[in-house]
């Protein structure tokens, strides 16, 4: 295609698209009167456009449409923290709300399991107290002998016990 042809082709396309000015259209028509090839090209272009307009859009099969729709999702980069996606954030936010609600609804009375656990914890605490007493007795015994150890631990116990007795007497 030479420069001459290209020039007229642009003019013809513009004419078909309705973008050619009135003076340009008149000039093209005048030229086509004298130029048989140009006239033929204009007619063919009109026929081609008409044929294109008559072609209707064919609907793609559903399976193909689904696959096409899936492509953008597959191409999307996987987020670094998936749990920060809105649905996860909502789910995580619900957990403390549920726990707080359950806690608020729970009566003040602890369950039997909780009381049993508390009793075990108390036993552990007392066992450590008891063991501290054993260590104390052992240390005193190693330093000053059994008699003194008994005397000291005994007097400590008596001192504490006497405070309790005094307190009881006052209550009475």
């Amino acid at each position: 295609m030479n420069e001459y042809d290209e020039k007229w082709e642009e003019q013809i396309n513009a004419l078909l698209d309705g973008e050619l000015s009135a003076s340009g259209a008149d000039l093209l028509k005048a030229e086509a009167t004298d130029d048989r090839d140009l006239a033929k090209a204009i007619i063919e272009a009109y026929q081609l456009q008409k044929a294109m307009d008559e072609i209707r859009v064919e609907r793609a099969p559903d399976s193909l449409r689904k696959r096409l729709r899936a492509i953008p999702r597959q191409q999307r980069p996987t987020p670094m923290f998936r749990f920060l996606q809105p649905r996860w954030v909502t789910a995580l936010a619900v957990i403390p709300l549920v726990l707080v609600s359950v806690n608020l609804m729970k009566p003040d009375t602890p369950s039997a399991d909780e009381v049993t656990k508390a009793r075990q914890e108390m036993a552990i605490a007392f066992a450590y107290l008891d063991r501290a007493g054993v260590i104390t007795g052992r240390e005193i015994e190693s330093k000053v002998g059994q008699t003194m150890a008994d005397a000291v631990t005994g007097s400590v116990n008596k001192a504490i016990q006497s405070q309790n007795l005094l307190s009881k007497e006052k209550k009475v």
Binding site: I95, M122, Y128, L129, R131, T136, I160, Q163, N164
Partner: protein
């Protein structure tokens, strides 16, 4: 990797929420005269291997549950307002725990606690202090620090050691203690 991060996040969230009752019981005890602040050694030794915070309400329920079968134990429990225990593994690095021991000891002295027993050995320190308010015992504190463990026990309320020895037999709980 991502699942691990998420699991840790959810586990942390649950642990925090589950720890709330224990924190609440600790707060309940703070205003009592027999309460002792042992500080926090978790920055050095990690979380305590045993933490116990029993408030008066829970002890009342334990006492009620015990009353019919073990009246002596129930009597002992009825005088208690709270029990707190913190035990850390010192793992041959007890320096920080010993410093904490001395700091708490200083605080006890300055707040009217009376020393009952003190052992200052090279590798072991034991301390038993008691707080009296007039004629009433308000609390007892036992601290034992050695190369293996740092044990902090705070009994709030009245406790008779001779009664304690008797009721220990009634607790059918197998307790393995590290301090020896």
């Amino acid at each position: 990797m991502k699942r691990t991060v998420m699991k840790k996040f959810i586990t942390g969230l649950f642990c925090t929420l589950l720890a709330l009752p224990a924190i609440a019981q600790e707060d309940e005890l703070k205003d009592l005269a027999g309460y002792v602040d042992f500080g926090d050694l978790s920055a050095t030794y990690g979380e305590p291997k045993i933490t116990i915070n029993l408030g008066g309400t829970m002890l009342n329920f334990v006492g009620m549950m015990t009353e019919s079968e073990e009246p002596e134990t129930a009597e002992l429990i009825s005088k208690l307002k709270g029990i707190r225990v913190q035990i850390y593994s010192t793992e041959d690095n007890a320096d920080i725990a010993w410093n904490q021991f001395d700091e708490v000891k200083g605080n006890l002295k300055s707040t009217g606690w009376e020393p009952i027993v003190q052992i200052n050995e090279k590798d072991e320190k034991v301390l038993v202090y008691m707080k009296m308010e007039g004629d009433n015992m308000e609390g007892m504190t036992v601290m034992v620090v050695d190369e293996e463990e740092a044990v902090f026990v705070n009994i709030i309320g009245q406790l008779n050691p001779t009664e304690l020895g008797r009721v220990m037999e009634s607790f059918d709980v197998d307790v393995e203690l590290g301090m020896d």
